[in-house]
Subunit: 423 residues, 2 copies
């Protein structure tokens, strides 16, 4: 399957868990919704019952991270408390409440010769997830994969290893108690980069790999992997304020997109303003941003204001994930689109305008997963879109683009039924 | 975009055509259906008008191939005549007659907060196609890509270079005459393997790569490419004759699947027979296959018949594409599914049975793009499925699985419309 006849060491260990995941996936694919939902509720119950053990393991991770001088913001993402564990349990119950995507008939017809054709959703099989820091992703990802009928191989960051191990043990026990193979959820074993690399090369054993994390992680997975990859997350999102914008709305959208939660991928990182409204809008938006603690990195027009730093090429390309914003004045909508085509990561880009023509042109020419008209980029989110659960936000064009819910975690199969039909 | 700051030689030439395709794709994405259909009809007209030039170029390819001692079967695939050129023109007109997938609203709703959410089909952008031998693929692929709004980069085999160059020149001229950029259709320039490799690494310039050809070509593209790939075509297809099969139907399905057109990917390569019907079915099927000129490579039970060769492990794994079939008797349906899981390429696998329970079990547990019940594997085909046009048959689980028509040649984009909505 992998072209390596006799692997050893970390690779052998990864191929071993992948092989067990494959066997478990065959059982899971046949599990009816009721059994999967029962397992999800059992997992939620077990997490609540096992909170003390999970928190004890997490405390060791946090102590080790503190001793290593890890920045406070990262330690905050690593740290669990009773509320966060309860949140994981709630998430599992929410997934249990969602419709089962498996078995959905996506397309169907009876052909001219009487053959019945149905395209039906089926699980991928084995899904690998490579992620950073936050241990609550462990439970979220396991729950979504399980509901979609996929066995999951989880590769979290080494700083969260004790937490993830404790969470996975709880989930596996609950799965087994609910009558599913415990190997529907596994951690990828081993230290360093080799195990992740082995996962990326486990073609034929792993069906899909989803990296969740920074741009560097995603790039390395795309470069290394022979398993098909769904890229997620990098978000250099833009808000463009058009000549025909209502400037009160524009200000509200810019402030929300930048400051509502600056550390997430759908936060705005760049502001573009049509020159016809620059004289009126720039003083207002610069003051409001600065009052909210945002550092503006601007072109000449913006840099004329006190406290605005001169923007470099890198500022326009950067995903700050902080209270910083790059800003520029553009001569027209076409220049805004050109700027976005050049710098956007293809995640979410917004226009604020009262012009139907400008909105249509922006929607047609901006090539991103989500294009928003008179709405904050913060709305690009599985929860906001009503998907009920989200495994990530795809920034690629193949298979899934934008927020990915349960249906995006499945493939399809054609079922063709006849009574002895031949060509 | 590609991580190579100053490429030179073949790589620079490929990045140049890819960059021009990217520019052309921006125009093409905005072209309404009427303009695309007009271009397709113009291409068909131009191919008919330019038949003599295309055939002259093709005659040179054929002469060179003959001088090089190329096998007759491959020369037959390479050779064009007036009928085949007319067939290409007809294919382009058929594509013109199909609905435009671009702009189709796949999903849409109004969220609780009044935001309007629409998921809309959009072109991929630039599609690369790497293919072998048959020059008619050049026109087919260009037509399908154009209708779906994609600029195409074509990399055919060197043996067909003169033919492909002539066809592409005709298509480009017609596109330009119809008001589209001529760079919507381009050949990838250069000799040897380097240009194809450069195409596989042109991440950010090329959106999707589709290899069409043998297993070796597809494996090398999957290994080398950092551009997302859709795998197509390798077909080790099975027919399983169940204990509850009507044996007349079973015989008809086996014979059709094996002999109707043995050189294509949906032809059957393996036959599995339940032991309860082996005594009655084996004599009939072996005789019928042998009378049709098929060599049977069988297990012990089959090898008891005159003229049946003993099957090796490789026979069961092989895509013969010839009048050969591997055959085995299995103790039950589970063993048949196990055999298929082990050897199938995940293309098309069929069961012949009168048992509803066996059919359900087979459909649920065989993990292939198409699972057929009482029907020949030969039906897995875009034309048979009613898609009107087919770019290939995907054997991967991501994005598209099974025959790919126009909708499979698109991505989607979320369009979110509000009136100043913030979170």
């Amino acid at each position: 399957m992998t072209g390596t006849p006799h692997p050893s060491g970390p690779e052998a260990a990864v191929l071993d868990v992948a092989g067990r995941a494959r066997v478990a996936a065959q059982d899971l694919a046949l599990a009816p919704r009721a059994r999967k939902d029962a397992a999800l509720h059992a997992m939620a119950d077990a997490l609540l019952a096992g909170t003390a053990g999970v928190l004890a393991a997490n405390a060791e991770d946090v102590a080790a991270a503190e001793a290593a001088g890890t920045p406070a913001a990262i330690i905050d993402r690593l740290r669990l408390d009773e509320g966060r564990v309860a949140g994981m349990a709630d998430g599992l119950r929410q997934v249990a409440g969602l419709p089962d995507p498996v078995g959905e008939v996506v397309r169907g017809s009876t052909l001219a010769n009487g053959l019945e054709l149905r395209q039906v959703r089926v699980p991928f099989g084995v899904v690998g997830i490579i992620y950073e820091a936050r241990p609550n992703v462990t439970a979220d990802a396991a729950g979504i994969c399980l509901k979609a009928g996929n066995a999951v191989l989880l590769r979290g960051s080494s700083s969260a290893l004790r937490s993830n191990t404790a969470i996975v043990e709880v989930l596996r026990g609950a799965a087994a108690a609910a009558g599913l193979p415990e190997d529907v959820v596994q951690l990828v074993p081993g230290e360093g980069h080799e195990p992740a690399k082995a996962l990326m090369r486990a073609r034929g054993l792993v069906d899909v790999l989803i990296p969740r994390g920074g741009a560097g992680l995603i790039r390395s997975v795309v470069e290394e992997s022979t398993v098909p990859v769904i890229e997620t997350g990098a978000g250099n999102c833009h808000v463009y304020v058009d000549a025909a914008a209502d400037l009160d709305r524009a200000l509200a959208v810019v402030m929300n997109a930048k400051t509502h939660r600056p550390s997430v991928c759908n936060a705005a990182e760049s502001l573009l303003v049509h020159r016809d409204v620059a004289a009126e809008f720039l003083p207002r938006v610069v003051r409001a941003l600065q009052e909210a603690g945002v550092t503006v990195h601007g072109d000449e027009a913006f840099a004329a204001f006190d406290g605005v730093e001169a923007a470099t090429e890198e500022d326009y390309a950067k995903e700050y994930l902080s209270l910083d914003i790059a800003a520029a004045v553009v001569p027209d909508l076409e220049a805004a689109v050109e700027h976005i085509r050049r710098y956007s990561s293809g995640h979410s880009d917004a226009i604020v305008t009262g012009s139907q023509e400008a909105a249509r042109r922006f929607v047609a020419t901006v090539d991103s997963a989500a294009v928003l008209v008179n709405a904050s980029t913060r709305f690009t989110d599985g929860g906001e879109f009503g998907f009920g659960a989200e495994i990530g936000i795809s920034t690629q064009k193949l298979h899934a683009r934008g927020p990915m819910g349960l249906p995006e975690m499945t493939s399809t199969k054609y079922v063709v039924t006849g009574d002895g039909h031949t060509r």
